[in-house]
């Protein structure tokens, strides 16, 4: 036993980096919504980035450590605290003593927090991944959202033992952590989030006004948004030119912006369907997809245009940054020992 779910909060599932190779059978990729946060959380406890982590949503989750554990919390800041009211810092390895109570109920920023446990969480493996896929009823814990009383197991640690110099110990002695952190990889909170997009193949199916509106309007995240897609509302809906021939279904990808006839765009995310027949009016640059993972209903975004080449450069840079992060964390965790 590693962690017991006392309360799941709004929505909690087990996720890894997704299920690849089965889209041709209609199976969604799924996986962590904020991929960089999930990867960093794993590295911070000495795991490979493909290990399963816990994805918590917004607020309300409570966990209990059933043994001494190394954990890392990355992503949104839900004001994680112990039962004694000690703040559990984000974006770094944290040693927690057996019996420690973790509560996520002082919501501050973001929308999703990842909890990685040294060794990696156990989950039902289906098609090479333990990501929970609700629609398919597979992965995670019986393919469902987590409930109060669920017990999460961590796999045995196979790599080296974490040996960090100079740990800070909390007053109760229940927590230890280093001063360094990887918080620079968090999605920063903003009044209006900037999201960079490339033009979609069907942008010209929108009226001229709607084509301008896509970049001029501020869009609000609708409450019906979920892991499949985020629905966006603005003051005026985006109109499609009438009488265009219907599209036949074609593959879609993460970050595809679809425009259904109601004029409210949908941004497709981790658990999206594999194909779609609505006009594709834009495509979010890969590096900005994690922004959506940290937006909650009511939050605002604005779109800015980038070229394919710019989006590629951003993606390559961010992957090289992630590579560097992994290397540096490795040095910090094991030092010279």
């Amino acid at each position: 036993m590693s962690l017991t779910m006392i309360k799941p909060g709004l929505f909690a599932t087990i996720q890894d980096l997704g299920r690849y190779g089965y889209q041709k059978y209609g199976v969604a990729i799924g996986g962590a919504m904020d991929e960089p946060a999930a990867r960093a959380a794993n590295w911070l406890v000495g795991n490979r980035d493909t290990e399963a982590v816990l994805e918590l949503t917004l607020t309300g989750a409570e966990l209990r450590a059933e043994r001494d554990l190394w954990i890392a919390l990355c992503g949104g800041d839900m004001g994680a605290q112990t039962g004694e009211g000690e703040v559990i810092p984000l974006w770094r390895p944290v040693w927690i003593a057996k019996g420690t109570h973790l509560a996520f109920r002082n919501y501050r920023t973001g929308c999703r927090t990842y909890v990685a446990v040294a060794g990696g969480l156990e989950g039902d493996i289906s098609m090479g991944s333990s990501s929970t896929y609700l629609r398919g009823g597979i992965g995670g814990l019986d393919g469902r959202t987590l409930r109060a009383g669920d017990v999460l197991e961590a796999k045995p640690i196979t790599g080296r033992t974490i040996a960090i110099d100079k740990l800070v110990t909390s007053p109760s002695g229940g927590l230890k952590w280093p001063l360094w952190h990887a918080g620079g990889f968090a999605v920063a909170p903003r009044e209006v989030h900037a999201v960079r997009i490339m033009p979609g193949e069907h942008q010209h199916r929108m009226t001229a006004e709607a084509q301008r509106g896509l970049y001029e309007r501020v869009f609000r995240i609708a409450p019906s948004s979920d892991r499949m897609g985020y629905r966006l509302h603005s003051d005026v809906s985006l109109k499609l030119i009438e009488g265009m021939p219907e599209l036949i279904s074609e593959p879609v990808v993460h970050g595809t912006i679809q425009l259904p006839p109601d004029g409210n765009p949908i941004v497709l995310l981790a658990e999206r369907q594999t194909t779609g027949g609505y006009p594709r009016i834009g495509q979010v640059a890969s590096v900005d997809i994690p922004v959506f993972a940290q937006l909650k209903p009511g939050d605002c975004i604005r779109f800015y245009p980038v070229t394919l080449q710019e989006a590629e450069e951003l993606k390559l840079e961010s992957e090289l940054d992630m590579d560097q992060l992994r290397t540096i964390i490795g040095l910090k965790l094991y030092g010279n020992k």
């Binding site: 889209q23 041709k24 490339m198 074609e250 590629e312």
Partner: protein, 248 residues
Amino acid sequence: MKKWRNVQFVPLGDSSVLMRAGDGIDESLHRWIMAVMHLLESRRFEGMIECVPSFAAIAVHYDPLAVWRSRSPQERAHEAVFDTVCARLETLLSQLPDQEENSRQQRIVTIPVCYGGNYGPDLQEVAQHCGLSAEEVISIHTSGLYLVYMIGFAPGFPYMGGMSSRIAAPRRKTPRTGIPAGSVGIAGAQTGVYPLATPGGWQLIGRTPLALFRPKQEMPSLLRAGDQVRFEAINAGQFMEWERERGG
């Protein structure tokens, strides 16, 4: 967008490309799609992740960093990773055999269906709409040979062609909030089977006891693009027998 012969390469974000060779639904285009899928999957290029076929296009998902890191000296001259991917795809496409190979055998999958009653609550309505008897609708539906063009919308959901226009019927005005898994329906000129319980507006004419989504098996979908499907009428007793076998 780039073009090679009659194939368009449309970027789908910064990590995939849509290869499109038409804009309609027809069998010869489908055969080309299947041949290209086979070629791509048997001769993967460095950085390719997976391919997803549809009626007239294939999405090729790739890892831009892996493609960038594996560039050849000539490919280093490309302005974008997308250009390198397109060049690699063009090279593969130019090696596509001109003649249709018969080595890839088309499977024929028979799907047992219990028509009407609780299993197909809209059978009468479809019959009335088409000016046929329920028996005639069943006989027309079971006499067709259907081609699976693609899987999408939901895990294991087949987009099929080949239904007789004599049993075409419009979608329900008010979609049902819950349709049981295995429901066989008609929407316009299309017929399909719902793999999972889901809301939907199709006219339901029957239900199959077969599981279309089977996540525990190596191929998680009963059907795949390129299969042919035949429906076979069974009675309620046989339906329950099938279900028992599946459960046991």
